[in-house]
Amino acid sequence: SGSPSSEVSVEADGNLSGKLTLTGSSTVAPLVTEIARRFEERHPKARIDVQTGGSGKGIADARMGVADIGMASRALKSDETDLTAHQIAADGVGLIVHSSNPIEELTAEQVNSIYTNQTQNWKDVGGDESEIIVVHKAEGRATLDVFLNHFSIDNTTVKADVIVGENEHGIKTVVGTENAIGYVSIGTAEADIAADVPIRLLSLGGVEASTATVASGEFPMSRPLSLITTDSPSPLAMEFIRFCQSTEVHDLVRSQYFVPVTSEPNAAQ
């Protein structure tokens, strides 16, 4: 995803004007909103409107030209090659349980059998005697895709007790139900754990689930957070994407509990 034109920023810092509309992933939107604020401070005449709606909507809107840039919390699929993804951060998907649950770690087989209803009680996987409440994501969610892919589960075989939409919905459900298990964005979970919300992230394949392990690339269930454009974005869009990928916004990425990506060529400028 090379985007060579750096003229805009060199010659016109402060003179950049126009309006950009971004739509898409609810995971990415809060981060991009913050970046957009900073961008607008630098370029007072530029307006960046960030809407939400979900990754699928972001991709569709970008393709149809309804939005200048889409946002997605997953990699592009094979039938989406007409678009270009510009990764701006990374995130992981982690399993969570209530903090009163003694379980520390589950194997891939255990997760598989819990979600396909073969295991129905915590004591069968080494926990207390209580029924397992399975919290699952709605079909079509980026998070769900990542989860199903990682554990090679066929969604039609999953037997869930609660199906949630947003990450916080999943977390609030686990908080309210001591014997529940769910999976959410690690960024979201860490932010909540930092605020003393009674949940715990489970390790996966021996690797602790945290932004640190996602950053180091150790954590197996991770995903890119990207901005999506068609092949010919406007100069303003290009400049904004460049800004999102630059080190200038790493503090913002971290403050939203995501992992900055530093390897992008543009970031070096």
Partner: protein, 280 residues
């Protein structure tokens, strides 16, 4: 006809048609979006498929239709009696000061966003109902909260309807030594029947149309519910959950569920308003 009357007639009729047109435009829009799925999949498969897994080509909407009906009718079963009682309370039972307060409170209830109801249900009510088993996110929780949400609709319209009952008749009944409840039951309720019925229908349709709170509370599992404690997904919740992410064909299927919802609403509205047509 004087010019002002003519103008009034034209403006009001055009407005009426405009108001009616809104629903037609919405229906047309839904049809347009749903057509690809209807042509490709056909209507019957929405009822005969094994399950709801749109990405795997299974499109059974039946459990969602049932969940939608159960939560909405349940909500009206809760809100109806409470709302009518609240209208009667204001006019016939409450001391004047309390009546004013009660009214204010009910009006306030009308404006609390469904997300706040959902949040309250999720954080406060669901853990309580979880004591009955499961996660507490089930049809019962959704029904109760939905009932509270549509309660003001019934209450406010009942209040208005009761207020419109002719005072002479009420005084006449009182003068015959009829007790308070007898006056309410024999005179006031029959007189205000059409207004109350309107409130209940409005509440039912509102319950059918509510999305956010149900999404947050019903558990959203697409399975034929076996009891009120089963989780369930309503048609709206389904759209809200999946639409943001749905690709073209999946998206079209979601519009089918929107369309089905509207058909359900239309049938209910037409059946009920046939039966409960006010006599004038």
């Amino acid at each position: 006809m004087p010019r002002s009357d003519l103008l009034l007639m034209i403006i009001s009729r055009v407005s009426a048609l405009l108001s009616a047109a809104v629903v037609l435009v919405i229906l047309g829009f839904l049809f347009r979006e749903a057509t690809p799925a209807l042509l490709e999949i056909g209507l019957s498969r929405f009822f005969t498929d094994r399950s709801w897994h749109p990405l795997s080509g299974n499109f059974n909407l039946k459990p969602m239709i049932v969940a939608t009906l159960v939560t909405s009718l349940g909500a009206v079963a809760i809100a109806g009696p409470l709302g009518i009682a609240s209208g009667l309370f204001v006019h016939f039972y409450a001391p004047p000061a309390l009546a004013t307060w009660h009214r204010r409170i009910v009006e306030l209830l009308a404006g609390i966003p469904s997300v706040v109801f959902g949040l309250w249900g999720l954080v406060v009510l669901a853990p309580i109902i979880a004591n009955l088993g499961g996660s507490g996110q089930n049809l019962l929780t959704a029904t109760v909260v939905l009932g509270l949400m549509v309660l003001p609709t019934v209450a406010v319209l009942s209040d208005n309807a009761v207020a419109a009952a002719p005072r002479e008749a009420i005084h006449g009944a009182a003068a015959l030594g009829m007790s308070r409840w007898a006056i309410v039951w024999e005179i006031v309720l029959p007189e205000s029947r059409s207004g109350i019925a309107a409130g209940v229908i409005l509440a039912l349709t509102r319950a059918l149309g509510e999305t956010m709170a149900v999404l947050m509370l019903a558990g959203n599992v697409v399975e034929m519910p076996t009891s009120l404690l089963s989780p369930g997904r309503t048609l709206n919740a389904n759209i809200a959950l999946e639409l943001g992410y749905a690709s073209t064909s999946h998206r079209s299927v979601l519009f089918v569920s929107g369309l089905i919802l509207m058909l359900v609403v239309s049938v209910i509205v037409i059946v009920i308003s046939r039966r409960g047509r006010p006599i004038r």
